[in-house]
């Protein structure tokens, strides 16, 4: 499942761009690969992000994965529901499982569109 209207990273994150704001989460492929998520750690509102730097962590029962900032900017909202209900990411990765909202200051030049991400997945999806 790769929604048409989103942008994607090689680390299997998605971005919904609305003006200078981007909502960020992980893709259906990413949640499927991770398995049941049991822990999500996100930055705080007001934190600044720099492209490529670690912004948080998601953990399944077996595995730990880091999240990398896909753009530069400032965190304007985080999905606090994920603290108690990380399973929302598994259940609805592009909806209720969103992770954070960022006011973009730059970066994002290397993002893929849906068709590009789809073929990236078909090629194995290894960053």
């Amino acid at each position: 499942m790769v929604p048409e209207d989103l942008k994607y990273t090689r680390e299997h994150e998605w971005l919904r761009m609305e003006g200078d704001t981007a909502t960020i989460g992980i893709t259906d492929h990413a949640q499927e690969e991770m398995g049941d998520l049991v822990f999500v750690e996100l930055p705080a509102e007001g934190d600044s992000l720099a492209t490529g730097k670690v912004l948080g962590t998601v953990e399944s029962v077996k595995a730990v994965s880091e999240l990398f900032a896909p753009v530069d900017g400032e965190v304007v909202a985080v999905n606090a529901a994920l603290i108690d209900r990380p399973e929302l990411v598994n259940q609805d990765p592009y909806g209720e499982g969103w992770m954070l909202r960022v006011r973009m200051a730059g970066g994002g030049e290397d993002l893929m569109n849906a068709a590009e991400y789809q073929s990236y997945l078909q090629d194995g999806g290894d960053a």
């Binding site: 398995g35 049991v38 822990f39 750690e41 962590t57 953990e59 029962v61 077996k62």
Partner: protein, 368 residues
Amino acid sequence: MDPETTLRRTSLHAEHVRHGARLVPFAGWEMPIQYRGVLAEHAAVRASAGLFDVSHMGELEVYGAEAEAFLQEMTPNNVSRLATGQAQYTALLTAEGTFVDDLLIYRLAAGRFLLVVNAANTAGDLAWIRKHIHGEVQVRDLSGEYALLALQGPRAAGILGRFLGKELQDLGSFRFTMEPMDGSTLLISRTGYTGEDGFEIYLPPAMAPSVWQRLMDEGERDGLVPVGLGARDTLRLEAALPLYGQDIDMTRTPLEAGLNFIVKLTKGEFMGREALVRQKEEGVGHRLTGLAVTQRGIARPGYPVRVAGREVGVVTSGTHSPTLGRAIGMAYLPVAHAEPGTKLTVVIRGNEVEAEVVPLPFYRRPPG
């Protein structure tokens, strides 16, 4: 060399694929890590029942007129107390009293024993036994002749009873029975690695797919699901059952691991006894200890454990406990810091996260 081509597959491979398993390399085998998901599979075993393929486990047969005496020398538990039809949890130990492996011994007949060992250790255990073997004793590797299913959970006895057309309520814990089926024989023991009531079924690999399918059909109305190694690990850790290579290994003794019940110092000489007698006299310095993480975060194997800022141990096993809804782990800690209630921290990616010592096991099945 392409690792995919060298991995061994169990006789149930097609069943795993059919049930949508994610298959991963494990101890040289391609094994199911999960089907529907670790949390759902874990919950099914605690609430109703789960069926596991653990055919990767090794089976060694030790037999001969002096087999009992030899195993008595090689293991710390008391083999002479083991009647035909009984199984015993025990270990192979070095002269230093440390683990070569942990295993189950089944007494099949007066002079015939089946040793069920960890997949990754099968070759090493066989070499270890051959190195020490003497007298009228033989050993052979029967791993290729056994598939192994584990049917675990509060509904397991009912499902298996219907499948066999025979009640198994009288089969006690660590007892086994030989059940004829389709011209062959199933060895069924009341054993497991989940902390629930349950059974392990040893059978010819060629029979495994049909037995698997019939058990799945029989158990459908009870909520029986196939369970992978992912949930096997969370289930066994909640029950504080040690995993070789993580919680026990060639640097640790059963006394340090809290497995005193397998050490029978008064039974006579056995490999490692002197070292264990000395350790018992002097007292163990470190003990395998349960931790519960009290802040947000998950303890994982290899994470340091600190008391008052000083490292006192390392997490051997750690995960999110699906039953308890919090992170749990085990670590060898100095006995001074191993008392329940002791406050400590686990270092998770550079951050000290608060935890405390809790009694083991983390989970005990409700009585009845």
